[in-house]
Symmetry: C2
Subunit: 412 residues, 2 copies
């Protein structure tokens, strides 16, 4: 292994305007995305890690990156990644900063960016895309990437290793995804502030481009708007195209139950974030009462311990882990392994616009035996990315550039 | 009512050194407390609200106070407090800053400080201590202070009003606490880094000063140290004095079960934070398996929705709500009402060193019918406070100064 030392850490506050209702949902009405970027310099290489925000407040995450990341400069990247789980825990359990979470909110978003920057630098040192790097590691090496603290009662390091080893002999059966591509679903057609005509037109265009699944934002004060739009979309697309419905936490529990049942007439693939993301028993009740419609959530579940609780409760069907909400690639792997243990599919929320997750779903499918489902597609930040994820014929093309595909063009 | 307008908001970063192991536990080893202070100016009055940190990172909360609090200047305080629940929700659900939680971490700590500043200014405008102000309000006025969103399935505004109305006719039976004082328990005797002799000596002194209950920090890597110290303390104090044990989240679940059972030999009043504060089913299992020993937690449960989940799960016996972790006095009241609905006692964690909670436990007892239990006592910041809480004969003397008792002397 090459000895490559992290020389410096820079936190960069990047913001991106969203136009014409893009990105809007029933709860988040600001017209901006933000990335809190952790950039690690090592000779000519730059490790880039991101966390998503909605713009305002992004500077808090950047400041937290500087605080939590003070331990990074001077470290050897290969040595760091050889025991990243323990190292990450030492960052997450900083004796003073830990109080600000623990393991949630601004400081945990900062840990996401820092973790992803470490993984990006590591993959670039090795000259390979993340998916290839992860697939090249032994089960023990994967296990060492993960902080198992407080989830060991449902997933011990031994359990994780067993899942990895079980799927090693059959990897070739699943490696076809690398050439076939991983299916995407299009979130960009159904933003909350788009009018009905635009939603229908965009959805038909998405299908013409090969998408087999699209998302519609719901959660209007007047539930009738949701019903009207869902029906319009189902009528326009016919019965074959999958439709995901996303309420973005807008509904109180009673309304979540009522609206989910009413919307079941269009046979949604899932209902996403029907209520507050901390309401574990609320989600369990929804999951039980709206069956056979399924519940998806995770974009606001902050860490592996709360995912454990949702899994133990039987409160989710689709695990929407997000490596720019969780503590990066490392905690995403922990949640993916837990989900596999519980027999539930992982369908990431893409706060990263799919850039890192296009790698992670390949690993999940090939190495963990997770189903080849759908990866969310949101193209609004393509112009800012050096290697924007590319979807053709409805599938993500397997990325070939080294790293996590998160490098951004310099700000204008 | 007087018309008093909030003229300006200032966020102040205050830090306080802790000497000789004060404040130390198994997880938090920094020797500092910090208050992120929100100060509202209105003519000659200053409304002071605090959130606790452990020093480093306090500036993040101060920055978040400035961001979230931008809506405060120009508002009339009486009008604001007449519908504070709805107003607080509008702050908590800021369309961009909400992403950084929601309702947890740095931004929620900022909301705690802002909320407490509003309550402090309000009480000062009326010229009364917080407990007196709260007791003077009608049930409807109390209900209007609270954001019930996402807890209405277990506590609707109507439920809350009914609890308040039920206890109105019998208030005089409980108002004796105002002259008798609310019992304290002494946390300052048993910090983690204190040696055995100091713990025993301090505990005996505390009992001589009238305390009937003391806390010992546990969670050593070597469980033998915990057992030795717990036995020493029980031997020194005899069977009558209550001993609370606090692991500060240190134990993984299996160790939490093992150590709690082993420590049950000294008959602790409760075992506090045995494991990670997001591990709902872990705590339920502990609560079930270590009975009759009881479980206390809450200082790191960030909001009313997660408290709801713990209550629904049967995962806690003592509800350690903290109004400088939750969104201030307002969300503390929400949790106190939920706890009452579930029949569980509230024994606050005092991130505020008891300054605000000495008011809140009086309200809880008199207006909600909560038991008169014990309020934590931590005296290390007395010199910085204008009106430090005073414990005599083991009871908190009822505060008489207007407001929340959180004013700090100016920094040196």
């Amino acid at each position: 292994m090459r000895n490559v030392t992290i020389e410096s850490l820079t936190a960069i506050d990047r913001r991106f305007p969203l136009l014409g209702g893009e990105g809007s949902d029933a709860v988040h009405t600001g017209a901006e995305y933000g990335y809190a970027v952790a950039e690690l310099a090592a000779g000519p290489l730059r490790g880039t890690g991101i966390a998503l925000t909605l713009g305002h407040g992004n500077e808090l995450v950047c400041d937290a990156i500087r605080m939590l990341g003070a331990a990074l400069p001077g470290r050897d990247i290969e040595a760091t990644m050889a025991g990243f789980g323990a190292f990450q825990r030492s960052l997450a359990d900083h004796p003073q900063l830990r109080w600000l979470g623990p393991h949630k909110g601004v400081t945990h978003l900062a840990l996401a960016a820092l973790t992803n920057a470490c993984f990006d630098l590591w993959a670039k040192v090795r000259g390979v895309p993340l998916w290839s790097l992860l697939l090249s590691l032994t089960p023990d090496q994967i296990v060492n990437l993960i902080d198992f603290s407080y989830i060991e009662d449902v997933l011990s390091p031994g359990d994780a290793k067993a899942i990895l080893e079980t799927h090693l002999p059959t990897r070739d059966e699943r490696e076809g995804v690398l050439t076939a591509g991983y299916p995407g679903y299009d979130t960009s057609v159904g933003w909350f502030q788009f009018d009905d005509q635009r939603v229908v037109k965009s959805a038909l265009e998405a299908r013409a481009r090969g998408f087999r699944a699209v998302k519609l934002k719901v959660g209007s004060a007047d539930g009738e708007r949701d019903l009207r739009r869902a029906r319009l979309l189902r009528e326009a697309l016919g019965p074959e195209t999958l439709i995901m419905l996303d309420a973005n936490q807008q509904w109180p529990l009673d309304k979540a139950l009522r609206m989910s049942k009413a919307l079941s007439e269009i046979s949604p693939y899932w209902v996403e974030e029907p209520t507050h993301p901390d309401d574990i028993f609320g989600h369990r009740r929804i999951a039980e009462e709206i069956a056979p419609v399924k519940v998806a959530l995770g974009e606001h579940v902050p860490n592996r311990v709360l995912f454990k609780a949702f899994l133990q409760a039987g409160a989710m069907h689709f695990v929407q882990a997000d490596c720019v909400r969780l503590a990066g690639v490392s905690e995403f792997l922990a949640v993916s392994l837990m989900a596999r243990k519980f027999g539930l599919p992982v369908a990431p929320h893409v706060g990263d616009m799919g850039q890192v997750h296009q790698h992670l779903v390949l690993f999940n499918h090939i190495a963990l035996g997770h189903d080849r489902l759908f990866l969310e597609h949101i193209p609004h930040l393509r112009e800012y990315l050096v290697h924007p994820a590319t979807v053709e014929g409805g599938v993500y093309l397997t990325p070939q550039e080294p790293g996590l595909s998160c490098d951004l063009h310099p700000a204008a």
